[in-house]
Amino acid sequence: MAGEKEIRTQIASIKNTQKITKAMEMVAASKMRKAQDRMRATRPYSQKMLNVIGHLANANVEYHHPFLIEHAEVKRVGFIIVSTDRGLCGGLNINTFKAALKAMQDWQQQGAEIDLCLIGAKGTAFFKRFSGNIISQVSHLGDTVHIGELIGTIKAMLDAYTEGTIDRLFLVENEFVNTMTQRPKVSTLLPLVPEDNEELKHYWDYIYEPDAKGVLDELLRRYVESIVYQSVVENVACEMAARMIAMKSASDNAGELISDLQLAYNKARQAAITQEISEIGGGAAAV
């Protein structure tokens, strides 16, 4: 059995680690609440935007935007993968990457090549080793993401679709189910399929300024951007939730370790005292 002193230093060091994980847990918890609020705040925009797009789709415009055109043959697909900047958040990123890799493999088996757009430092570090072609990348967005920081990254992919370089565009993101569960999700961004919604079937004869093409261009581009932006904001909430859980279990494990070590320490201390007494007793008897 290890000596008293060694056990004592070990306990002290684990206690320090536990303090850190506790602090990180609490920071993550408060950041998660803020991130969830932000997540909710982004919803009205895309909701309103969907309404406007729905109205326009029913207002028979002759112009067909490139985002709405489905490419018959799929030679190259694009993936936008949202990940975190920092680690220590459990299996969050790995689960996302697994989902992404699976989707990529499916397409590769069909003979399609892969283009990647990576959001977050972890994704960049992971997919650097992967054979896919990285088109654009952005990282170190912080906890409060602004849409301005994403525009360029997304535009690179959207342009590739408009030019016909890629024939499909997918988004790999995390869905915030609740604090305990975050689910990776792969969804199609392009081509856009307007939803059939009975409520929006009302026919409006719009005046377009400057023209239908210009308005649709701006609208659809912003719509795709807002979807990606939402997923990034949601990912921050997921990251914080996952980190909170990971840190909580780390703190719990540290607590268990400490109580085990404390027991060992007490035993060692008592053994030492018993030994000392018996030594004294032995010495007295010898005199």
Binding site: R38, A41, T42, P44, Y45, S46, K48, M49, N51, V52, H55, L56, L118, A121, T124, A125, K128, I134, I135, S136, Q137, V138, S139, H140, L141, H146, I147, G148, E149, I151, G152, T153, K155, A156, D159, W204, D205, Y206, I207, Y208, E209, P210, G214, V215, E218, L219, R222, E225, S226, Y229
Partner: protein, 140 residues
């Protein structure tokens, strides 16, 4: 009863305004527009500028929009406001920047986190400066 319309102003990051108003004035692409209830349906893009909101019995409200889209229906007006300054050349520059970053990330096998972070902060600061510059020009 005075006629009113419902106005929603939303940006990608949050809801800016939602309520009943009597008139809205917006900087549309082809010139400023004033919208009163029962305006003909209209969809237009916006220039950066001020959105003026008039409501009965309240002081006029001003919101700064850096562009976006305005949708008008007889009694519902929706403004999808941009939070970022948008311009074709600026967007283009950003796209190039993102591509450049991808190349840098590939070349830099070590993944120098600190350098990348410093650079990201630098870019952000430059962005803010540019925005302030534009706002200042607009004021004049």
């Amino acid at each position: 009863m005075a006629m009113t319309l419902h106005l929603d102003v939303v940006s990608a990051e949050r809801e800016l305004f939602s309520g009943t108003v009597s008139a809205v004035f917006a900087p549309a692409r082809m010139g400023d527009v004033g919208i009163y209830p029962r305006h003909t349906p209209l969809v237009t893009t916006l220039r950066p500028g001020e959105l003026k909101i008039e409501a009965e019995g309240k002081e006029d409200q001003y919101l700064y929009v850096s562009g976006g889209i305005l949708e008008v229906q007889p009694h519902v007006v929706t403004v999808l406001s941009d939070t970022a300054i948008r311009a074709e050349d600026l967007d283009e520059a950003k796209a190039l920047e993102a591509k450049q970053r991808a190349e840098d990330a590939l070349r830099d096998q070590k993944g120098d986190l600190d350098a990348a972070k410093a650079q990201a902060e630098l870019v952000r600061a430059a962005e803010q400066l540019r925005m302030i510059e534009r706002m200042r020009k607009m004021r004049k």
